[in-house]
Every structure is written in C-alpha cells, then in structure tokens.
C-alpha cells in the first residue's frame, strides 16, 4: 500500500531547511552555514521519512537496514571536511572510508554468516567499498562542475525515483518507500535550482546525499534481491550530468540532455527488473 505522508514530510523538512540555508528571495551573500544546512536538509528529510514509515528506530536497530538513517546523519560530520581546502582531503577520504566500511560490514552480517564464503565476502565488500568511494568522489566533483541550475538536482531526482521503482519491482514495497522518501527531499533542490540557478547549493554538501543513494542501492542488493548489474546502472545514472550543455550551463536547456542521458540507464534498470509474470 502506498503511503504518501512520509513523502510530504520529507519534502517539507528538506525544503524548509534549504530555504533557511539559502534564502533565495534575497540577493545578499550566502550564509557561511549554508552547506551545513543543505546537508542537514537531506539528512533530515530522509530521516523524517524513515521515521514516518517505520517509527522511531531501536538503538541498536533490530534490522541492519535501519542503520542507514544513522549513517546519513553521521555523514554530516564530513561537511566541514568537504568545505576545507586541500588539507582536508585525506581526513575526508579516511573518514568516508571508515564510515562506508563500517556500514558495509554491519549490513552484510547475515550474508557472511549464512551465504558467502571468505572469497565471496572479500569480493563483495571490496567491490562495494570501491564503488562507494568512487561514487562519493564523483558526486562531489559533479556538485562542483554543475554547481548551479536544475541539471544535477533533476538527474539525482530521476535516479532516486529509479531506485525506488527498481526496489519495488524487485519485491519489496517496504524498501521502495524508503528509497522513494529521498526523492521528495531532492524536490526542494530542484526548485532552488530553477529559482536561483546562480547558487551553488549542492557544493560541499554531497556526503549525506551520496551516502543515502549508495546505501539504498546496497540495501536493495542485500535485502530486496536487486541484481547488482541493475544497481550499477542506477549508480551510473548521475554521471549523465557531465554531458555538455546546449546553452547556458545552469539553464533549463542544459538540463534536458542530461536528464535524457540519465533516463537511459534508469530505464534499462527498470526494464531488467520487470517481473516475468506478476503474481498479483
């Protein structure tokens, strides 16, 4: 059954914090707290939706997937490192590595105990960690290159919707709702990109977003039987934001080819996830 309220909560919380961070109705210089508030907007929107869907999580959570909400909150600590100059790169890399490794290890407990042998465990954890670090760094780079306008927000929004659809098609309405909760949290960013394309809203605030995207895909693979090639297609979709623009880089026209480019791997992932014969 579809639950719309968590989506509304996520949108409202994220949009309110984004508005507070950037005050798009003013033309004055941005606040120094804007990146932190932007990151908090995604974490709060995602977390609020998760609570609305499942209730307050136990500590420690009874289900490993529930650690994702805590992980996204923990990545807020990475925002100051993201903002720092070259000196912060090593601490940022090590911190990201530690958080990713902890989450991957924690969530694979049942697989390591009942399914994977040691070589399979090493292969899965090594591959996932590499993909995690690559995607985190790539999204950070994209946020710098496509700092303003609706291109990157729209591509990320489409990717998140794609994740929700694929997870739902793979069998879990439960986790599809969780993935779907991230999309409305991005809705405010899309509006901001259209309203004030001159603002670099996502720069230095990618850690919670990248973590939520990766975590949802990882949970999909582990607990919703999403095939890993499908997950890789969805992971590649945001790269479409690198496509060249037809006009001004921050304008609407620039978003069209990038959105189309992202739609291709997303559509392929959805088609590959379609059940041969629905049982309903």
């Amino acid at each position: 059954m579809f639950h719309p309220l968590p989506i509304l909560y996520a949108f409202a919380a994220a949009a309110a914090l984004l508005a507070l961070a950037w005050r798009p109705w003013r033309r004055e210089a941005e606040s120094s707290h804007a990146p932190v508030l932007t990151a908090l907007a995604f974490a709060a929107g995602f977390g609020l939706a998760q609570v609305a869907l499942y209730g307050l999580p136990q500590i420690p959570p009874s289900a490993r997937s529930e650690w994702l909400g805590f992980l996204v909150l923990a990545t807020l600590a990475l925002v100051p490192l993201e903002r720092s100059s070259r000196g912060g790169r090593v601490p940022l890399l090590l911190s990201s590595l530690a958080l990713a490794a902890w989450f991957l290890w924690t969530t694979t407990g049942p697989k390591r105990e009942y399914t994977w042998d040691n070589p399979a465990t090493a292969l899965w954890l090594g591959g996932a960690l590499a993909a995690w670090l690559w995607h985190t760094a790539s999204l950070r780079d994209l946020a710098r290159r496509r700092a303003g306008g609706p291109s990157l927000p729209l591509v990320l929004f489409a990717t998140t919707v794609g994740i929700a659809v694929v997870v739902g098609l793979s069998g879990s309405v439960n986790y599809a709702h969780l993935a779907g909760a991230l999309a409305p949290a991005l809705g405010g960013l899309v509006i901001l990109g259209v309203w004030r394309p001159d603002l670099a809203a996502l720069t230095s605030a990618t850690a919670p977003l990248a973590t939520a995207l990766l975590g949802l895909l990882w949970i999909g693979i582990l607990f919703a039987e999403v095939p890993w090639p499908v997950a890789l297609l969805l992971l590649a979709a945001p790269e479409a934001a690198r496509l060249p623009a037809w006009g001004p880089d921050s304008g609407w026209k620039a978003a069209i080819p990038r959105l189309v480019g992202a739609a291709l791997p997303i559509a392929a992932a959805v088609v590959l996830s379609l059940p041969e014969e629905p049982y309903y």
């Binding site: 105990e113 009942y114 879990s172 986790y175 582990l222 607990f223 919703a224 039987e225 041969e276």
Partner: protein, 202 residues
C-alpha cells in the same frame, strides 16, 4: 506471507514433540530412552513438511512450504530434561510462484535477507497421552516470543532399519506479533503453521 514465520516455530515445536513422543509408554520399546542418556532424534527433511496457511483477501486459504530446515530433539527419561531445537531457512519459502516467493522473502514479510534463519528452542515439554504440549522460544523476523503448540504422535515405524517417529501439529498465531504487519488489508493477521515431521532415532 507471514505464514512462513509461523510455520517455523510450529515445525520446531512439532519436531520436538515428535521426538519426545518417541519415548512415551505408548510408543514402541525401541524408541524408549534410558535414564542414563537422552535419545537423539534428527528430523528427516525428506519425509517432513512444514507448511503455512493464511487467508487471502478474506476469501481463500493460501498455502506455502519451507524447503530447508533442520531439527534435533533430545528425549530424556524425564520429559523435563528433554529439548527440541529447530532452524528454518526463511529464504526457502516456496508457494509455487517465483514472483510471490520473492515478495514473501522481502522486507514486506519474512525479510529473509536480514533474518535468514528462524529458530525454535523448547523450554518445556509435557506429555499428555499421545499429545505433547511443547512450550518454547520462537524467533522469527528478529522477534522472539514464547509459543505453545500441541503435537500429536501420529505413529512410529521402521525405515531401513531405523526407528522413526512422526508428529503432526498446527500452530495458530498473529504475524503482526512478530513485526510482520505488511498488507494486513489483503492477508490475514492470523496464520497457521502446519508441522508434519518424521524424525530418525540416532
């Protein structure tokens, strides 16, 4: 879809009861345990069945089974010292439809990825004629609850020179009690676990 959870505890309890049942006075002498050592019975998965049933849209009773499970029952002369332990692989649920099986394995129901095993560990066994009243801790979907079920000794026999005992029992429970509250509008909260097992004396 939550039926599988229920089935696991039932199967465990049933298996335990079966093993326990092998030693009552009504059972053949070959199955009677001695006071010095407990008789150990291992559930034969080939000749055992753990099924579940649930009401679909208030109209029909749907059935499924678990294909992978293990059971060990130790029967002592004093029933209070007997024990039963079962493990069931939640990912082995089989309803005859791949899409439905995938959905039942998902987080909407069994969440087999998070909770790949359901277990039953008996805490008390009381014999009442051919019926064994088993109390135990059933862990399903990450939730542990005390459950009780009555297992009837169906009979005892010989299989390739081995003594075997068979038990049958049905356990009714509410899946929401185990945190499986998905699609309550389509599938009943009440489920029945049907356990029919054959266990071999070691």
């Amino acid at each position: 879809m939550r039926l599988p959870h229920i089935l696991i505890p039932l199967s465990l309890a049933v298996t335990g009861a079966v093993l326990l049942g092998a030693k009552p006075a009504s059972a053949p002498a070959a199955a009677s345990p001695t006071a010095s050592a407990a008789d150990v019975y291992i559930v034969d998965p080939v000749h055992s069945f753990i099924l579940f049933s649930i009401i679909h849209v208030g109209a029909s009773r749907a059935y499924g089974r678990f294909n992978e499970f293990e059971g060990r029952i130790e029967l002592a002369a004093d029933a209070a010292e007997s024990s039963v332990r079962f493990e069931l692989k939640t990912g082995s649920v089989d309803t005859g439809n791949d899409g439905r099986d995938k959905h039942i394995r998902s987080a909407d129901f069994l969440n087999a990825g998070e909770f790949p095993v359901a277990t039953f560990q008996s805490t008390q066994v009381i014999q009442d004629g051919d019926v064994y009243r088993v109390t135990g801790d059933f862990t399903l979907h990450g939730v542990t609850k005390e459950v009780k079920l009555d297992m009837e000794l169906v009979g005892m026999g010989k299989m390739r020179g081995n003594t075997v005992a068979g038990f049958h029992g049905e356990l009714e429970f509410k899946r929401a009690d185990f945190g499986m509250d998905g699609m309550l509008n389509m599938l009943s909260d009440e489920m029945t676990l049907i356990i029919s097992v054959e266990a071999k004396l070691q």
